[in-house]
């Protein structure tokens, strides 16, 4: 499969958006519980962005606002977008599971709330590791699936 140009600044803004949203939901919910609603919202944003890139909120923020105003400089790299999309989708799926747990937490037990928050925190940690160190776990999983012939890598 041919390489295309991927703007890595867009990916970084996306990762920063994920980390910030989860942290706001996590810390904010201590004082104002409805802020937990940000988690399912983020899950929707990530899943929508995976299947329709024009709906990827944080990437659009970069392309429509941050890049044109010179706030964030572009960083084009010869790359393939598929592993990054896969990683984003995986993050979205985990946040969707986290959202289900949070909903169960409201109606059944706070144990589910803690589990849901922990899962969301793990997504934020992985997004931070990718943002800071360039290590993308989702991309590694994509490689492993490709190696086993489960996806066309």
């Amino acid at each position: 499969m041919a390489l295309t140009t991927v703007d890595h600044s867009a990916l970084k803004v996306n990762q920063a958006g994920i980390v910030t949203t989860v942290l706001v939901a996590f810390a904010g919910s201590y004082f104002f519980r409805p802020l937990l609603f940000l988690i399912p919202l983020l899950a929707v944003v990530l899943l929508l962005g995976t299947f329709a890139p024009q709906l990827a909120l944080f990437k659009q923020l970069y392309f429509q606002v941050l890049k044109p105003r010179g706030i964030v400089k572009p960083r084009p790299v010869q790359d393939r977008p598929e592993p990054h999309n896969f990683a984003q989708g995986l993050g979205g799926v985990f946040l969707a599971v986290s959202s289900v747990l949070l909903i169960l937490g409201f109606s059944i037990s706070t144990v589910f709330t803690a589990a849901g928050l922990a899962l969301a925190l793990l997504v934020a940690v992985l997004a931070f590791v990718n943002l800071a160190f360039g290590y993308c776990l989702g991309c590694q999983i994509y490689y492993q699936l490709g190696k086993r012939g489960l996806i066309r890598a």
Partner: protein, 137 residues
């Protein structure tokens, strides 16, 4: 304890467990891979396992390899050359293997390896190759 603290404790435990598992996995893979063989060459060289999907390979590993200067680097597509990748226990990309001139794996680096580290490993490979040649002669 609040829900947030429980969540933090649970996430922290998972992160620590994952880091421990990763350390165990790479140590185990390295132990199996070191000593594996490939083609001999005139001088120590590097087997560089990469793939089209590997971003870190392009953004970090290739610039680091370029800094090494006159060293033979054999680029291997880990998906296409599955047998070779399995021989060196490649479970992550990039993976760099420092090979002795005799074609034996001396150092295996899973994940990004900086130029300094590779330089040091190559120096060790050169001295071990010289020792082996002297012993054979």
């Amino acid at each position: 304890m609040s829900v947030q603290l429980w969540a933090l404790a649970a996430a922290g435990t998972v992160v620590l467990a994952a880091a421990g598992l990763e350390a165990f996995r790479s140590t185990r893979a390295r132990r199996i891979a070191v000593g594996a063989t490939s083609a001999p060459a005139a001088d120590p060289y590097i087997l560089y396992f990469t793939g089209e999907n590997c971003t870190v390979c392009r953004t970090h590993q290739e610039p680091a390899l370029a800094k090494l200067g006159q060293v033979r680097v054999d680029k291997v597509d880990a998906i296409a050359e599955r047998e070779l990748a399995n021989r060196f226990q490649v479970y992550t990309l990039p993976t760099t293997v420092v090979m002795s001139a005799e074609g034996r794996a001396l150092h295996v680096n899973y994940g990004y390896a900086p130029a300094k580290k590779l330089d040091r490993q190559l120096a060790e490979a050169r001295s071990s190759s010289t020792l082996e040649r002297t012993a054979t002669a």
